[in-house]
């Protein structure tokens, strides 16, 4: 969410003019301004009265659909205005500039899962902890670093103010880390790859209704798509690509994921957790003030994370590069799977045929297959061996 925000936040209402220029200006905003961005961004979700792609002018898709995630309202701009006359534009299509009539998407929950697996949340928790309790890391080098610490502490390590759309903590669910693990378990049947700081499994409530077959289904899907990628240009051999099986697996995942989203379930949690992880991801991608203070100036987000992890004595995941690299493409893919596009076997060729469908997901599929193999240790490129 935060990584998309600079593309849509404008200084005025007429023509889009970037309000965050350079993008690092975001780190100098007041925490309440950042909260107002979160509210306004949610308010631009689909369906918009002025723009509803895919509905053909008919009624809105069912609640929980990627084009109708939730009907819960954020605070209106009249109650929590954007700062200094700024306006939040939206996306219309790839060939049109951002527009006030457009809409905004946020990443799929899988994005938050992948980013959090790098351990970035726990590492930055240590950073804030050290700066707030002493000078082990030195003093923040400037006011921008102080402001980054303030925003981060108030928005992502505190109980959020009530009535905000990102407030997903209460006396009922007071532990945000446990809440995220609960969401991951329900949606993907997976826990994070790390426990608490003491190395023990992190306690959280596991739901009975969870997509425990997601991983096996997804890996079978990746395996079949890889067969398609391998044989798409085959002329001198038989082609074992099975479009029907790919669509069947896609439909199975579609049904699983949408079942967890009935009536808008998990939409607010997804939004809050995706926003949280994108804040840390963006912090590592940019020349952000906290990186300057920590002298984390390596090339590549994973190497900067490793530098910070070394400073605070909490190791990042060794495969952080793969987690960062897979997060964006797998998010896009699961959104499209939830749209139900690949439930039809005649559509799945777009997944593996780049020559015929250059704007399709083939290159993303290659990236997902490569990094999924790396982070799980299970080679989805390997053919299954039949046993007698």
């Amino acid at each position: 969410m935060f990584r998309q925000l600079p593309n849509y936040l404008s200084t005025g209402n007429d023509v889009f003019s970037p309000a965050l220029n350079p993008v690092t200006e975001l780190f100098d905003r007041h925490p309440l301004d950042v909260a107002s961005y979160l509210e306004a961004y949610w308010d631009r979700r689909l369906p918009q009265s002025s723009f509803s792609p895919g509905t053909g002018g008919l009624s809105a898709p069912p609640l929980g659909h990627p084009n109708n995630r939730s009907e819960e309202d954020s605070l209106p701009l009249s109650r929590l205005p954007l700062p200094n006359g700024e306006a939040l534009f939206g996306f219309v299509n790839r060939s049109s500039p951002p527009s006030l009539g457009g809409f905004l998407r946020w990443d799929h929950l899988i994005y938050a899962y992948m980013i959090e697996n790098t351990r970035v949340y726990e590492i930055f928790r240590r950073v804030v902890h050290e700066y707030r309790h002493g000078e082990k890391l030195g003093a923040p080098i400037d006011a921008s670093t102080q402001n980054w610490l303030r925003i981060t502490e108030e928005l992502f390590y505190s109980d959020t103010a009530p009535f905000l759309i990102t407030n997903v903590a209460s006396h009922i669910r007071s532990d945000l880390r446990a809440s995220r693990r609960n969401a991951y378990q329900r949606m993907f049947g997976m826990d994070l790859n790390h426990g608490g700081e003491d190395g023990k499994p992190y306690p959280y409530i596991k739901a009975e209704a969870a997509n425990s077959e997601f991983v096996a289904t997804f890996e079978e899907f990746l395996r079949e798509v890889w067969v398609g990628i391998t044989y798409v240009g085959a002329t001198a051999s038989s082609n074992p690509t099975d479009d029907s099986k790919i669509s069947e697996l896609a439909e199975k995942m579609h049904d699983m994921l949408r079942s967890r989203r009935q009536s808008g379930n998990l939409s607010r949690e997804e939004y809050a957790f995706v926003a949280m992880m994108s804040w840390f991801h963006m912090t590592l991608e940019l020349d952000s003030p906290i990186l300057r203070s920590l002298r984390a100036d390596a090339t590549g987000v994973e190497n900067r994370l490793f530098q910070i992890a070394g400073r605070v004595g909490l190791p990042a995941h060794g495969l952080s590069k793969s987690f960062f690299d897979i997060a964006d493409p797998i998010s896009r893919l699961l959104i499209q799977i939830e749209l139900g596009t690949y439930n039809d076997a005649t559509a799945v060729r777009a997944l593996y045929d780049r020559d015929s469908f250059p704007t399709g997901p083939e290159s993303d599929m290659r990236s997902i297959i490569t990094h999924w193999t790396a982070i799980t240790g299970r080679d989805v490129k390997a053919r299954k061996v039949a046993t007698n």
Binding site: P53, L286, F324, R366
Partner: protein, 84 residues
């Protein structure tokens, strides 16, 4: 001998194709080319799926990515490095 000069030599004893053989090869080549040109267009459903994917990708374009980018799926990782 020039650097890129064709050096392939006709094999000893090989003879040029007769007129019938040449006509046959020409006919086969024309048939192959024609079949490629008349091949059925990609499935409309797959075309729509690819377009839809590009729209999702466009809506989720992150800062620094060029507008209307139909680039590869590899994420930009070195925004900071590019600033230097």
């Amino acid at each position: 001998m020039a650097k890129n000069e064709q050096t392939t030599q006709k094999a000893a004893g090989a003879e040029a194709l007769d007129a019938n053989s040449q006509a046959l090869i020409a006919a086969l080549t024309a048939a192959i080319l024609s079949s490629r040109q008349n091949a059925a267009p990609p499935d409309q459903d797959a075309t729509d799926a690819a377009a839809e994917y590009a729209e999702i990708k466009g809506a989720l374009r992150t800062f620094g990515e060029p507008f209307n980018s139909a680039s590869s799926g590899f994420p930009r990782r070195n925004a900071k490095a590019q600033e230097y």
